[in-house]
């Protein structure tokens, strides 16, 4: 058969296959560096510990806390309902379905904000959504929520409201000692949530 015909018969189907494939399947990183920088700059991934405390008190089921510290630190103390995915293990296959989903709100936390923010940047670059960072981490948690300081008389009312809320949250969540290792109530370690339905890969803008 004429070579041109043969060529056409082979490459047209291949072209159709390629045309049918959605764009983002062919790229590993869903966000370009510029896009990630913009998002990181807005700080929209940060969630205040007060909000977390509130959700815990209300027992909001959409919250999933993820402790990105080492297993030793996790065993010593963890927030109620938190699961442990050490940063070093973040990209393991078994964690993909937890990190790449749209059913719950994952909130990374660590001692400060750095490690948790690193986790956020990694997962965001892969195009995962619904992951957030608890601002200030456990340091802020202990310093400001569990051992909330009574505001001085001259502070605005909202400070008092915050203080009241934190006191009751601390009580509900078993606050008390500043040092994590001393008998502060540790919530029973949550087992990793059952692997949810297949992760949904949203078509990212990344072009």
């Amino acid at each position: 058969m004429k070579p041109l015909k043969l060529l056409a018969i082979v490459i047209i189907p291949l072209g159709i296959i390629l045309a049918a494939v959605p764009a983002d399947k062919t790229k590993r990183f869903k966000l370009s560096a510029d896009e990630l920088l913009q998002e990181a700059g807005t700080g929209a991934q940060f969630i205040s510990p007060d909000v977390i405390a509130d959700m815990l008190v209300q027992k909001d089921p959409s919250l999933q806390l993820i402790d990105v510290r080492t297993p030793e630190e996790f065993d010593a103390f963890s927030l109620p309902g938190a699961i442990n995915i050490p940063l070093s293990n973040l990209l393991a296959d078994e964690n993909t379905n937890i990190l790449n989903q749209d059913a719950r709100m994952n909130v990374f936390y660590s001692n400060g904000s750095v490690t948790a923010n690193e986790a956020w940047m990694l997962t965001r670059q892969l195009g995962y959504e619904n992951n957030f960072v608890m601002e200030g981490g456990l340091n802020y948690w202990f310093g400001n929520i569990l051992s909330a300081q009574a505001p001085s008389q001259t502070n605005p009312n909202e400070e008092f409201a915050k203080y009241d809320f934190r006191k009751s949250a601390a009580a509900a969540l078993g606050g008390g000692g500043v040092v994590a290792t001393e008998g502060s109530a540790t919530a029973p370690k949550a087992a990793k949530p059952p692997v949810a339905s297949k992760a949904k890969k949203k078509a990212a803008g990344g072009c």
């Binding site: 070579p3 041109l4 043969l6 060529l7």
Partner: protein, 178 residues
């Protein structure tokens, strides 16, 4: 007699579509192995840069061209992917020509013009092409072909420039070829 030799000679060249597929596979291999496409003018640029450096060791500081080259190439200019690739091109072309019996020292030209005229135009053409390849950041292999293979817009634009201009000027140089 010319009919027989015409078919014989055209049999000796690969079918162009087959040649194209093979070329595409070579280009694909380059992209897969080295993360870059093929090229040619870049190798000559390396030799030029090396020679300038040999003559004037301080050229990197005095010539902006050398500074710009040094920015994108670390180490000795000759340790460049394209230099090794072009050495291979010489070998590969030679082997293919040898197998097909096309090795012959000659000036190829249309019977309507002299060898000298052909060589003069070859020199002028080469000079223009060398110069243009620097502006275009590549030649037909590096910018047009490899660029198209990765869907680069710049590569595509340069390709259109090359082919468009060649077609546009073809009439004026027709005597050299047909």
């Amino acid at each position: 007699m010319s009919d027989i030799s015409k078919t014989e000679r055209s049999k000796r060249y690969l079918n162009p579509y087959l040649g194209g597929v093979l070329l595409g596979l070579v280009l694909l291999a380059a992209n897969f192995i080295a993360g870059r496409g093929l090229g040619a003018s870049g190798a000559i640029k390396s030799v030029v840069a090396t020679s300038i450096e040999v003559v004037d060791k301080n050229a990197v500081n005095t010539m902006p061209f050398m500074a710009e080259y040094a920015q994108s190439h670390s180490g000795s200019p000759m340790r460049s992917w394209l230099v090794f690739e072009m050495l291979g091109v010489l070998v590969g072309g030679f082997i293919s020509g040898a197998i097909a019996g096309r090795l012959k020292l000659k000036v190829e030209h249309s019977p309507k013009i002299t060898s000298r005229r052909r060589l003069v135009f070859a020199l002028i053409g080469g000079t223009l092409f060398g110069f243009g390849s620097q502006l275009g950041r590549g030649c037909t292999s590096g910018s047009a072909l490899s660029g198209m293979g990765v869907l680069s817009l710049g590569g595509f634009i340069t390709m259109v420039g090359i082919f468009g201009t060649a077609y546009a000027l073809a009439y004026f140089f027709r005597k050299n070829w047909i």
